[in-house]
Amino acid sequence: MLDTFALFPTEGPPPAGPLRVPSVLHLIGNTPLLEITRLSTDIAPSVRVYAKLEGFNPGGSVKDRPALCMIQKGIENGALTPDKIILDSTSGNTGIALAMIGAVLGYPVELCIPANVSIERKKIISAYGAKMIFSSPMDGSDGALELCRERLQEHPERYFKPDQYFNPHNSLAHYQTTGPELWWQTKEQITHFVAGMGTGGTLMGTGRYLKEKNADIQIVGVEPDDAFHGLEGLKHMDSSIVPGIYYEKQLDRKISVSTEDAYETVYRLGREEGVLVGQSSGAAMWAALQVAREIDQGTVVTLFPDFGDKYLSTNLWIGWKEYNQRQANMRAEGAA
């Protein structure tokens, strides 16, 4: 099978793509779409499943897109001037994106972050030179949101707050980039778009674009099955401060995923597809496979917000040994 891959083409022109760029910001977007084949063996032959690998963005996540769009629009409309500090609340990936973009454009960045985000995320943000202010681990992302509001109220003149939960340019980024990319990458064949809900920006923006192209495309939101969950990056909407850019009526459906199912899907993606992702990708994949199993034909596309290297120190990997043991037992039973 390997020799069918053109890893090092010896003839013809080199593959298209940006070979030289003037800044790392020019590498945001245009991420690849991966066909999922091993995890989808129980679906109808005419159903294809794809995942958009947002970990290929230079900041390592889908959040590079909205962060860049919100900052660009802030500069354009005069809200972000050179004397200001970029301030926002984030559970990690948006913080990394803002820190990276701030470093390139020369703006200081301050981020309100729940103290229990993974150590890797904190170190990455520090590496880009941004400052972190920690909120209580007991209060989740809403605690960071409150802390950020207080800080802004004290010195509103000092800051530019992209405000990813309420800034329409968050979803605009996906309307302008993620949506068209998927339309083009699936050769207009996409029938279902399945994605996790955090701010709702990915679903709202991408969904709106796809619906304009074909109103029959189903937009499916993925959320944790309970307010108390372990799916970093996702929000249980009924028990959270609902983001201002999130409109539930724009969804055709919501699917709830348990933390355990999402984690095991992460393990399977690593072992069977060779893709190491974070827990929100595991949840998205689990839901996309559920959708794919229900249909006879179609093209189901999900989105993996990032890769898994930022989560190696987290609880995600606590059940890994048991999972491996169960797999080994099943193989042994099968061989017996």
């Binding site: 989740g140 605690g143 955090g198 307010a227 969950h229 959270s240 929100s280």
Partner: protein, 93 residues
């Protein structure tokens, strides 16, 4: 043994909004059972079907993670502070 137990926001719907409650038990497991008897529904959030602490749940006794002590058999002494902390922050995507 009576300990103070700090409850994270998503579980406060079981404690009438209380951020901290008192509970009795000589071990963390006994403490969880006691909390369940006063606040039904909370244990299944903390423990799986096998009775083990769910993998995304961290429980600390005086700041020490019980996974590095003796899990649910970790002893609790009078006046200890027990914290239940979900291993997530939530809210991007």
């Amino acid at each position: 043994m009576s300990a103070q137990v700090r409850i994270p926001t998503p579980l406060r719907r079981f404690t009438g909004g209380a951020e901290a409650i008192s509970a009795d038990g000589a071990t963390v497991g006994a403490l969880v059972d006691h909390i369940e008897s006063n606040h039904p529904g909370i244990k299944e959030r903390l423990c799986d079907e096998a009775g083990e602490v769910r993998r995304f749940v961290n429980i600390f006794v005086n700041g020490e993670d019980i996974r590095f002590i003796n899990n649910l058999d970790t002893p609790v002494n009078e006046g200890d502070e027990v914290s239940i902390v979900p291993a997530i922050a939530g809210g991007s995507g």
